[in-house]
Symmetry: C2
Subunit: 108 residues, 2 copies
């Protein structure tokens, strides 16, 4: 079971985000497909995909000699709900109270 850390770290790298973008455009691409046009070795891409798999952001299915990769939206949604939603809810009461407090002190 991947941790939050696995997911955040996997998302931290721009190359991996680009790979997810590519899979978003066309899901189920093979390693070779995903390498096309990237200034990177196949092995580098494979490593990135392994990281994404470890974070469960990508699910891979071996098909003969090819390996096809699919986006898994579940972890991203979990992160969005469990983590980003937390900061999203407008707890403006406490926030603005503190800010007002500070601003008051500043202007006095």
């Amino acid at each position: 079971m991947p941790t939050d850390d696995d997911i955040f770290r996997a998302l931290a790298d721009p190359s991996r985000r680009r790979l997810l973008d590519r899979l978003h455009l066309a899901d189920g691409q093979s390693l070779g497909d995903l390498c096309a046009g990237l200034a990177m070795t196949r092995q580098a891409v494979a490593k990135h995909l392994a990281t994404l798999e470890a974070a469960n952001l990508v699910v891979a299915v071996r098909q003969g000699r090819e390996k096809h990769h699919f986006i898994n939206r579940v972890p991203i949604n979990e992160i969005a709900e469990r983590w980003i939603g937390k900061f999203d809810q407008p707890r403006l009461s406490a926030l603005s109270a503190l800010k007002r407090n500070l601003e008051g002190e500043e202007n006095d």
Copy 2:
């Protein structure tokens, strides 16, 4: 203007996420406040806060000899909308089409 990369990278570190959690519990804390109970030097915490500031996830206000830190929800919401929302929309048509395609080949 912080880039997506700044934000994702800032969020990638568990210590920094814990700092954001702390600020979420009590916004406007000083460096010293945020250091309390952490197995880390004050300088390390200061570095993390600098990274969060660079990503505009935290806004700091100097107040006498203290520096108070506030969460900024804007970047997180932008990320959530621009990036996570993208994967959230159920583009199941293309996905399941490709999956069906693969499964079909597999079972044949």
